[in-house]
Symmetry: C2
Subunit: 339 residues, 2 copies
DNA sequence: ATTAGCACTCGGCTTTTTAGAGTGCTAACA
DNA sequence: TGTTAGCACTCTAAAAAGCCGAGTGCTAAT
């Protein structure tokens, strides 16, 4: 059934008001505050029908209406007016980004912080570590007889470094040598490729076997499912919202959000959308019960390299969140383009 | 006034029981469960006197006794029996550490995790970035025309890396050159020294001015008060304890614990003690209200390079916490010695 | 010094009461 | 036919009242 314009208008009012106040909204309020030309009785009739259609719920016989998940969905798809960031917010974002140094990691880290700050929700980002990412350069930097730092630079400007052990009896030249050979072998290849051929390659360089193994280990580690960097900010922000006035719920929320695997699961899904994606409630049940997730993804050089977003109660200020994500996203893309 | 042995014994019972149950403990419970040779009336008399002396409080006229801060202090200083870790726990620790790779950062990170896991409290660690730490080696690794990775290896085996920008028109040789000169200048010097002389040095190398400035920036950044790495684990564990059944309190706790500056403040203090230090309640008021902090410090090569510990409610299982910190500490020291 | 006994206190729980906000329905109205 | 005033009804949230019992403090006896 198609909703009349008036029904839509009323539904929008209900959702807006409920998002703002977290209180069930009554017919009288609507008629008084938003639709002075209509009596509460008329509104009441409309509300009853909207409820019939599944967009509203009654907490109990008396006491106003609360939006259902369907209502939220309709709201974000059709009803919600797209907000713009205020000048103040925009300049705050720019201000924050200005302090920024170069590497992607810290840019993303900062982004997450800004988003959480601006929206007052828990915010998260995930940098994909894709198997397709091509290796540009591998550098073994030995800074102690038995210890070296392994640097891997990839196409997506991702740098990974990790400490590895070096056999003590290797001379610096040998290490240098190994490095060069490895570089020749790896450069231009993707993580995936390198790992696939690792057995074959390995046999060719028995002399550097040990170093080689370490490196492969590191690579495997990076590609392994839950790798990639995860950034989380404002986990505690959830407590600023009345639906989480109960410690049990907070605990549950945090246990999900603090589990890297689960979060990666959440964020991993919307690969291709540059668009903002909104998941409401247990529309998909990986999200913690009664939560919504709003995400976008960012890319460098046209390739999707991660996603970022906000997680919070279903009664979320979608308008604000979307505008913040859009605003920040634009600036973020610019920053990454520079690299 | 000196406490009789019996009073001490009773006080110990009260603290132990209260730590375990979080419930005020009554004279009857004591007489029934712990001192069957004494009647509740006698115990009652003793309790009354202990209260007189300030070790116990009455929540209200009826309903049992609760330890005061003084009681906790006495408890940890004299009364508490030192616990040993169970075999199970010990093997758990070793198991966890076995997976460990080399670098300090991840060892410490792992340590924090283990502690939090084992104690069920929020656990934290802080790696000092001291001005006295001497620079062993500086390496500029240019992996893109305008971008380089700056590595700084220090005496305490700390490695810091950071991405810096390089002027595009510098040739690789020039960068190499700059690197060498900088290395000569910096090696053997402490952060503090380098920063002090930075003005003077700078004038000598106008040609490399830009790189030089970047490096100084990075150094400054590291030395700046809130630098050093902070590790936090199990922030949510606080909610497992009944005194934090109120969201407001949790919020307050988290707001302190999530603020890097504040935590660094907390941990920064007990520099010299290898010993375990226990701070109860607002004995010192930097700690979040009604919290206790148990810390120890770790060192490498005899130098103190950080501290780690546990933060939680005053009603904390000190015995368990201390034994875990000691146990983990020993293994940690060993691991770090290997480096 | 210890203990049994008893009166007394007071928090926490359950129950009752009350007030008011909101609905649904109906009948009247434009 | 859509809108509205009016009213009975429902249900919650908050306050008030009542009850239970755990625990204490004190006293008098052992």
């Amino acid at each position: 059934m198609k909703l009349s314009d008036r029904k839509k208008q009323i539904l929008k009012i209900v959702v807006n008001d409920y998002i703002k106040t977290a209180q069930p909204v009554s017919s009288k309020q609507i008629s008084d505050k938003y639709m002075t030309d209509l009596s509460s009785a008329t509104v009441r009739a409309e509300l009853a029908q909207l409820e019939e259609l599944g967009y509203l719920t009654h907490v109990h016989t008396s006491s106003g209406r609360v939006p259902s998940k369907d209502a939220y969905k309709l709201y974000v798809d059709e009803l919600m007016s797209r907000g713009k960031l205020t000048v103040k917010e925009l300049s705050f974002i720019k201000e924050q980004f200005r302090k920024q140094t170069s590497d992607i990691e810290s840019v993303v880290k900062n982004t997450v912080k800004i988003i959480s700050e601006l929206t007052d929700y828990t915010s998260l980002a995930y940098s994909t570590m894709s198997k397709e990412d091509k290796i540009l350069n591998v550098k073994i930097f030995r800074f102690k007889p038995t210890v070296a730092l392994l640097l891997i630079v990839t196409e997506n400007t991702l740098i990974r470094d990790k400490v590895i052990r070096i056999p003590e009896d290797m001379t610096d030249e040998e290490v240098e040598n190994a490095n060069e050979i490895i570089n020749r072998m790896f450069t231009g290849k993707s993580f995936g490729e390198v790992l696939t051929y690792s057995d074959k390659i390995e046999s060719e360089f028995i002399e550097f076997r040990e170093i080689f193994e370490r490196i492969i280990e590191v690579l495997e580690d990076y590609v392994s499912s839950s790798s990639g960097s995860l950034f989380l900010e404002g986990e505690d922000k959830i407590m600023n919202h009345p639906e989480y006035s109960d410690v049990e719920k907070v605990k549950n929320f945090l246990s999900v959000v603090n589990s890297k695997e689960k979060v990666v699961d959440l964020l991993g899904e919307n690969k291709n959308n540059i668009e903002i994606s909104i998941k409401i409630g247990s529309e998909d049940d990986s999200i913690p019960k009664d939560c919504s997730l709003v995400t976008a993804s960012y890319s460098a050089g046209g390739v999707n390299i991660g996603s970022y977003g906000v997680i919070g109660p279903i009664r979320m200020d979608y308008q604000k969140v979307v505008s913040v994500l859009e605003g920040v996203g634009k600036i973020l893309e610019e920053m990454l383009k520079d690299e």
